[in-house]
Amino acid sequence: MLPAMDPRDPLSPVERTAVLRAPRPNRGLPMLTPSAGQDRRPLATETRAVDRAARPSYAVWELTLACDLACRHCGSRAGRARPDELTIEEALDLVRQMRDLGVQEVALIGGEAYLHDGWTEVVREIRRCGMQSTLVTGGRGMTAERARDAAQGGVQSVAVSIDGVEETHDRLRALPGSHTAAVAALRNCREAGLPIAVNTQVNRLSARDLPDVLDLLLREGAHGWQLQLTVPVGRAADEPEVILQPYDLLDLFPVLARLKARCDEARVTMLAGNNVGYFGPYEHVLRSYCRSGYRRSCSAGLTTLGIESNGDVKGCPSLPTDAWVGGNIRQHSLRDIWERSAPLRHTRDRTRGELWGYCAECYYGDECRAGCTWMTTSLFGRPGNNPYCHHRALEMDRRGKRERVELASPAPGSPFDHARWDLVVEDAAARSQ
């Protein structure tokens, strides 16, 4: 029996008003310098069997960092293009390298992918190489003409980011009218014959709005809905009051389970992103499409590939740049980076010994390995301990405790950068206050 769907607002009315009205932090766009020539750890001299067995079936590619929005929770602090983005020739060559490595699906993101001069050429090459092509957009500039271009190029699905009702969305996207534009983007794509989907960030502002977002995507005829927790990385790290606290998951997960049931009834594919977990009593509902009703750990470098617009290659598009770029395709082939770089080998080599804190003793440690590497490294600078876990929040609650993250030092201000956070364990009594 699923619980009723009546999301509890993590924010009190006074807090909500304050967060909605808070001015954006006074930080400019990052000053970027070419990074492709940076020294990175050398590639291993040989490949191992496990490196040859692992193949990326899913690639997420930041085609450009240029963006027509400047969202207040943007992990990559998008706005300006990187100074050393791939040329169209390099991009097309990378598409062919992806095909040769076994990639089957390429999701283009940004920035805004459509601001890249050659984006439709890239889409056509992806399709010509026999791979699936999808596009993620904030929607501000997804005009009817661009939607037709996408359809003609061969894009097979467009996901538009919608992060709540209009007031919430416009506040998070830092632009009045951005919600209206996002809905218009959905309609433009639908009218161009493109299957449409919605991506939603879940945080303290948007959690209350999730049923309304589902109503909207049902009205607009979306086929899919992907949800992910807002991770304190990039600009999101500048506004801690927007980030969910670990104990907020106690109220969130019953709502997600009910939303999943509604999506199933409506034949909408609801995917909980890899930072939504792990192994709580609704896991089998949220992952009902999995063989055993659960997912194991992070797939970065196992089956997932992330690419930054300058050709830097990571195991997952969201991982912090500093520690997780394995190499640049201007220096090495994609296959060599995939098979021989330490950051992309990380997940292949990880053991339970990497876990620390609560996760080191967890019943699910062998399977979960602390879940999303992005979340853990964004919080603590290293993987292995993840307080954003439903099972963990339940166990804490059972002991009369809860966990809270507290900003210790701010993020420096570059794409995919992160702050440092302290983890506070406290009595749960405050939860009901």
């Binding site: 191992r48 069997a49 496990v50 040859r52 067995a53 692992a54 193949r55 079936s57 899913y58 997420v60 992990g75 095909r99 076994g102 990639v103 089957q104 699906e105 993101i109 026999g130 699936q132 999808t134 993620v136 097979q156 699905s157 467009v158 996901a159 299957p195 989907a197 991506n199 086929h223 899919g224 992907q226 992910q228 199933d264 594919t269 992103g273 890899n274 930072n275 009593p281 896991e283 089998h284 009902s288 499409y289 999995c290 063989r291 055993s292 009703g293 659960y294 997912r295 194991r296 750990s297 992070c298 797939s299 196992l302 089956t303 997932t304 598009p317 969201s318 997940t347 062998d366 399977e367």
Partner: protein, 154 residues
């Protein structure tokens, strides 16, 4: 890594070897501990894997790839035998769409032979592929795959 099954009492996943659920204390049924869903072939796209497991879960069919499933030593073989025929009459547009979209993508047999070569390393790769389900878990930024899910739901 352990193999987990769902406690029918408290809906928590528990190790297959557990006699009692460590969360609610209820004995884990023998049938629950014995059940082993079929394993999808290697090398499928996310959409195909989703369709495969959705089909298995709903009892419709298990051939989203349009070919045979990987050999298993358990109940999966029963599903294998009827996969293509069942899909020919039900869920057609779902599977057709997945197959059409994947046409030209890397031949799954390439991965199969590769993985056979590496033997025990398969377990590591399985953690991110289909050892437990449905291909790569969606990274936080990405897009719901476009097809393969329209007609078969779980």
């Amino acid at each position: 890594m352990n193999d987990l099954v769902l406690c029918t009492s408290c809906s928590r996943h528990v190790r297959r070897a557990e006699a009692r659920c460590p969360f609610c204390g209820i004995p884990v049924a023998v049938e629950t501990r014995a059940a082993r869903p079929p394993v999808a072939p290697a090398g499928l796209s996310r959409a195909k894997l989703y369709a495969f497991h959705a089909a298995v879960a709903t009892g419709v069919a298990a051939g989203a790839c349009g070919g045979s499933t990987a050999p298993t030593d358990d109940a999966g073989s029963a599903v294998d035998a009827r996969s293509n025929d069942a899909l020919a009459t039900d869920g057609q547009s779902t599977i057709d769409a997945a197959n059409a979209a994947d046409a030209g993508a890397q031949d799954a047999s390439t991965d199969s032979s590769l993985i056979a070569e590496v033997g025990a390393d398969r377990a590591i790769v399985d953690a991110g592929t289909d050892g437990d389900g449905w291909g790569p878990p969606p990274p936080p930024y990405g897009c719901v795959f476009p097809e393969g899910c329209g007609d078969v739901k779980v």
